[in-house]
């Protein structure tokens, strides 16, 4: 595909944990991300969903090389990031930005909003005093010029998230990883921030990796969706196909667990109730990692790892007995 901006292939990230148990010191490996592959086209949004600990944030951080992947490749505009020298990576970094979940923690409380927004410009050595750029960015995200002189504590959560977005936009990135960007916001405020992301994308044409556990927000904003479970992608495809015809049992259960804001639907809905919690990524189940909670599991699920395969409605899923 020529309009491909980001290509992630067989990405693996293991974290080493040191556990001190009395005299015995053991090393344990957290398999946070295992063999994850996907691509993001120019101007498109990939939604990354899954329960907490499924590896979404780790994928995002590996893409930006905020952490080193254990193995696998990340290609951005056709360049393999792992092969770049420090200086080349620094230059590329301005094209890739990240916005974090917590609008309260991600801004320096001692810096004015204007200074926070222009900081990436200074770090990247962009000449000038940036005052005009800051105003332009504030306007772009729906804030006003006089906000530049104020400090983060004077702003609400939704406004701080906008400041974070303005900062991420300063260097005209081609890709923004949005890690739970609206999770900390009230619903009435969420809607405005989601609209902002959509407007910016249609005006500036950047791509998003939109990480969220809120499936209805992802349905709204994403072109493609990848569902993660315990470090692996279990289903990936066009948003319409995945939501209308989930083929992986986990996707189906996840969608069915989301309560909908309609009492009549809720009373008549067939619900799939999963048992137990997500197992530990230190010792993930053999074969299919979902098998300990799957109502369809058979012996083969413990022995053979299911591979992603194309399903009739077009998406791919990794299951020996896919739903249809």
């Amino acid at each position: 595909m020529s309009d491909e901006l980001l290509k992630v292939t067989n990405l693996v990230k293991n974290f080493e944990l040191r556990v001190d148990k009395g005299a015995r010191r053991r090393k344990r490996i957290v398999q946070a991300v295992t063999n994850v592959s996907f691509s993001v086209a120019k101007g498109q949004t990939l939604g990354l969903v899954g329960e907490s600990g499924s590896g979404k944030t780790t994928v995002g951080r590996c893409i930006l090389r905020l952490i080193e992947p254990t193995s696998g490749s990340v290609e951005f505009e056709g360049q393999e990031l792992g092969s770049l020298k420090f200086e080349e990576m620094r230059a590329l970094r301005r094209k890739m930005q990240i916005v974090f979940q917590d609008p309260f923690a991600s801004l320096d409380p001692k810096m004015t909003v204007g200074a926070s927004i222009s900081e990436p410009l200074i770090v990247q050595g962009v000449p000038g005093d940036h005052a005009d750029k800051v105003l332009e960015l504030l306007e772009l995200v729906g804030l006003s010029a006089d906000h530049a002189q104020r400090f983060p504590h004077e702003f609400s959560g939704g406004q701080r998230q906008r400041i974070g977005v303005a900062r991420a936009l300063a260097l005209n990135p081609a890709l923004i990883v949005l890690d739970e960007p609206v999770s900390a916001l009230d619903v009435s405020i969420q809607a405005g921030v989601v609209n902002l992301f959509e407007d910016l994308q249609s005006r500036l044409g950047m791509s998003y990796v939109f990480i969220a556990h809120d499936l209805s927000v992802v349905r709204h904003i994403a072109d493609r969706v990848a569902v993660m479970y315990l470090g692996k992608i279990v289903e990936i495809g066009d948003q319409e196909a995945v939501y209308a015809n989930p083929t992986h049992p986990y996707t189906k259960a996840l969608l069915s667990a989301v309560p909908l804001p309609d009492p009549k639907t809720e009373r008549t809905r067939n619900r799939i109730m999963l048992e137990g919690d997500v197992p530990s990524p230190v010792n993930p189940p053999s074969g299919c990692r979902f098998r300990t909670r799957c109502w369809k599991a058979q012996d083969v699920c413990a022995q053979e790892e299911p591979m992603l395969a194309v399903r009739p409605s077009g998406q791919m899923s990794a299951c020996h007995f896919p739903e249809s």
Binding site: E51, Q190, A191, G192, P259, P261, T265, M273, L274, D277
Partner: protein
């Protein structure tokens, strides 16, 4: 006739802050009926938690609390600490978002449940331990006799919240107040916990007050709902009436802002939540309200019946009927 187990009238709660007095709850009226599940929604800072912390007598003594809270006819506001201690855990229980901080890390799960039982009932240790096991079973913890001997860190987040529920219902309280009990949990685990709460309500006739910001959760489990804004309740009714034709402009805005299948543009509520040190005069929602008129800036609306809802909006009668959003 339904029996009211909790009757809150004109509840006010004021904190002293460096920027002056902050009235977090500004005159709440609310009834909880026996055995019902009442949902309480509102944005962050609207006074949901503070209202029920005041009800439980859990706010520090220097916080000003006025008004009336009757629990099965007994006044709780101004009651002695000793009396409130005898009420908490026996007649009223409250559970919170973070189950780990509510459990004692160095005591076995079974002992923590027994302790709650024995603090309000004269039970032998043996009987208390037996009852603790039954409670673990009721909240859906498999192998209760093994699990009772374990410590909180050996439980997952969802399992811990089940234990907290077991402790909260140990003495069969009249009302269980659950403040965002599933917010920290994954959605598949949330579904399990909601089921446990419904089971408790069904089996013991416990009335439940469920505080949440998630309208989907309300639609799934609540019988009635109370919407809060800036320390006031702005709308109340059964879930069907409220979701079908919300009357208050804030409730309409809230429902309209939710993402729905399809790609229509989202409709946010304009503006931002108020600063509670200096809330807007009159109807606190007026700076964000599409229907605001001059009268809204001077008059603070009270809940009045409109159709089958209770609505606090001076213009409720004049507003166009709302569409059904779902």
């Amino acid at each position: 006739m339904t029996e009211k187990v909790l009757e809150i009238r004109d509840l006010h709660v004021t904190f002293d802050t460096p920027s002056g007095p902050l009235e977090a709850v500004r005159g709440i009226d609310l009834d909880v009926e026996a055995g019902e599940l009442l949902g309480v929604v509102g944005e962050s800072g609207s006074g949901k938690s503070v209202s029920f912390l005041a009800t439980m007598g859990l706010l520090p003594a220097r916080v000003r609390v006025t008004g009336s809270v009757l629990l099965a006819g007994e006044q709780l506001i101004g009651a002695s600490n000793k009396y409130m201690r005898s009420v908490r855990g026996r007649l009223l229980s409250m559970i919170f978002q973070d189950p780990l901080s509510a459990l004692n890390p160095v005591h076995r799960i079974g002992d923590q449940i027994s302790e709650m039982l024995q603090s309000h009932q004269s039970l032998s240790s043996r009987d208390a331990a037996k009852r603790a096991m039954e409670l673990l079973d009721i909240v859906g913890i498999p192998q209760p006799s093994d699990r009772a001997r374990q410590y909180p860190h050996e439980f997952s987040g969802g399992m811990r919240q089940r234990v907290i529920i077991a402790i909260a219902i140990a003495n069969n309280p009249k009302v269980l107040i659950a403040d965002e009990p599933t917010t920290a949990l994954d959605v598949t685990v949330q579904a399990q916990i909601l089921e446990v709460i419904e089971r408790v309500q069904d089996r013991f006739g416990t009335a439940v007050v469920l505080i949440t910001h998630d309208l989907g959760v309300i639609a799934r489990v609540a019988d009635r709902v109370n919407v809060m804004y800036a320390g006031r309740n702005v709308e109340q009714g059964t879930i069907d009436n409220l979701f079908d034709h919300p009357s208050h402009p804030y409730t309409r805005g809230l429902l309209a802002s939710l993402p729905r299948p399809g790609k229509q543009r989202l409709k946010p509520i304009t503006g931002f939540p108020p600063n509670m040190v200096k809330p807007p005069r009159g109807c606190a929602f007026h700076p964000r309200c599409d229907f605001a008129a001059d009268i809204c800036k001077s008059e603070m609306p009270n809940l009045v019946s409109y159709g089958n809802l209770q609505t606090a909006c001076v213009r409720a009668r004049e507003l166009p009927k709302s569409e059904r959003f779902v």
